[in-house]
Amino acid sequence: MNMRVIDTKFRLVGTRPNRPDGLDKVTGRARYGADFSLPGMLWGAVVRSPHAHARILKIDASEALALDGVKAVVTRADFPTGLTGEDWNLQENTMAGDVALYDGHAVAAVAAASALLAQDAARRIKVEYEVLPHVIDVDDAIKPGAPAIRPGSGDHSVPPQEGVHPDMVRHNVVRNIEFGHGDVEEGFAQADLVMERTYKTEATHQGYIEPHACVGQMGEDGKGEMWVCTQGQWFIRRMCAAVLGTDAAQLRVTPSEIGGGFGGKTTIFMEPLALALSRKAGGRPVKIVMSRSEVLRATGPTASASMDVKIGMKKDGAMTAARAEFRMQGGAFPGAPVDLALYCAFAAYKIPAVEHVGYDVLANRPKCAAYRAPGAPMGAFAVESLIDDMCRELGLDPIEARLKNAVREGDKSSYGPTFGKIGLVETLEAVRKHPNYSAPLGPNQGRGVATGYWFNHGGETSVSLAISEDGTAQVSIGTPDIGGTRSSIGLMVAETLGIPYENVRVNVVETGALGVNEPTHGSRATFASGKAAVIAAQQAIGEMCKRAAGEWGIDPEAVEWYDGAARPAGSNAGKFPPMTIVEIARKMGSTGGPISGHHESVPDGVGNSFGTHVVDVEVDPETGRTTVLRYLVAQDAGRAIHPSYVEGQFQGGAAQGIGWALNEEYVYGSDGRLQNSVFLDYRVPVASDLPPIDTIIVEVPNPGHPYGVRGVGETGITPPLPAIANAIAAATGVRLRHLPMTPPKVLAAIKARADG
């Protein structure tokens, strides 16, 4: 049962028209990354390290280059030197330098006349390695004496370890963060119950259906083009230019239709290799399409985490103090989202004293990429699991306990700033009233509740809108559509202009068409591109009012726009019949030329979002298998522009969370090689694993957006991990603190309890 809490009074906003990309997608006409081909195009293949950590002694490509049809081979020697900071990290991850840092790290690439020939040539490139000691687990990597992956790479935030014996130095800690407020020891002393536990989560992949794919073309003059599956064409442009040492403006990047991203397509992987191969092959375009195995071995999973959480609680559920120490590895490069995880960990609660400590740790794994609310799901797993245990210990209802501590408008957040208008309480009250929360449970069944939070993001944004000669409108946006932005922006523009939704076409355009846009990340596209598009439409309306005023011979200030037409503003302005957008557009060539609107900014007014999930599971005591019986998502959307897409985001977050909680994990052998690099072994949920996922769209409008929008893409994956863990604990009486909660793990926990 899907419900909406607040109805709207808009003409189009809040309705559910057909999606503009639907027909193309169901008929196969939509063009994804691998669908692009060009005359004279070559195919690229990548040679990848089979070792978790190894010095590259020699690369011999002579046998590959001797094959007829092989046109170019590139290694790190073909890339510029002297890069620093994140540019160096990107270059190093694109192509290993002296040392391969993880299983799957690219060490060479080849371009040939066919895909098969390129793969054959890649196999004939001989690489000699000296295998080095490796480390995979975050707690192992942080230990004194662990293999040093990149000695000295800790940044300015890591306190110096002066006077520490060299064997005791923690080489792999590259970033440290601490923040909080109040006296936590005093808070714990005031509590009736203090509990402290340790939790672990394994790395999981975003699991987008479409593998990475691109066609790159670059001449010796540094001018190039790229067609690529990405969440951010300007990021691709900037990062490729940095890695290759070329000028950003000389590279034109066109995004394809996108088959999922979830944050994993906000950075570069093999894209610079296609351009480098093209440059070396005389400017012939080069296409690279990753296999699923390459996607899992060499593109961004999320971090794995080890987390200690301590909470103090009064008998009535009031939290008195909390402390979290999170350790996360994000692969062989800095960037594990430990800071974001900590910021979100206690964000839902008003706690007098809180302390957060975080460590970003290197390990011999692929460079982590953003994955939907980066870090927040792991932190929620730890905090919300512990809160659940404490509620059971004190005999408290989990929703009442959360309401007791819930942040409201005007409360200080756990990370400092005061909250503006937020909708956490509304999500808690909405699930409490929903029939799922009172549905009867049978034997071996249990119910879990958890809350989650995500900030959302504004980001650099540029949008252009043009009125066509027939009064329809075309909108150019720079944020690839991974969640329905073409539809939601079309609705907002049509609402603003006062024209039918079908009269607006929204296009995702290439880098030459607009100013810089950040990717579709941080749940920002409908908020930021949408806000910019509304402002651009208002600009066009201003111009249309001016054109009408010119025709009527009155002051433009005396004209108003209503229901798709210019009208005199009151009787003093004169008596003229409304001039419709169609009439104004038809004459625009003779009244001043094209009519358009633009907006460029980093939009303020981002609205953060809370969600609460309720899940019922049944655990088979003979096998340990968990079946999800019913699932309920309530989340504050601010205002749902196209409710079907909002519900889809809620349901998608729950589905991904179910996979993360129950099955998904990167499994490494003792040799540091990834053991499950295909979907047969890396098990994402399939339709038969999922129950109906009910949704409640809570609408507490964001005052920072003209239609009240809050981003909705990420919050939905923050509560599922603890909600499911809490439901399993309710069903079995055993608490699992290490994800994923696979049948063998659940069965072992049940047996351990039975054995006493």
């Binding site: 601490e178 974001l340 910021y343 400092g416 993001h457 303020d604 990420e714």
Partner: protein
């Protein structure tokens, strides 16, 4: 004068102070004044920080800060 709330790890560079007072009317002036008063903060600010002013994440150096505004420095936010 503006009171700027830092995250605790930065206390190492501000003589143990978690709240630092600077003269500023914009975010840019505030960040520049922080670096001038506490040079150890420079690499953190150059790497990029998010700034919350009066309940909102603000977007640029020109964003105004009023006397008495609530100002927090936060590690740079992004997302998936």
């Amino acid at each position: 004068m503006v009171e700027v709330n830092l995250w605790s790890s930065l206390k190492r560079f501000t003589g143990g102070e978690l709240v630092v007072t600077v003269e500023a009317t914009t975010v840019g002036e505030m960040l520049d004044a922080l670096v001038a008063a506490h040079p150890g903060l420079r690499p953190f600010i150059e790497k990029g920080v998010s700034v919350a002013v009066d309940r909102e994440m603000v977007s640029g150096r020109h964003a105004p800060i009023k006397p008495g505004s609530e100002v927090y420095l936060i590690q740079q936010l992004k997302g998936g």
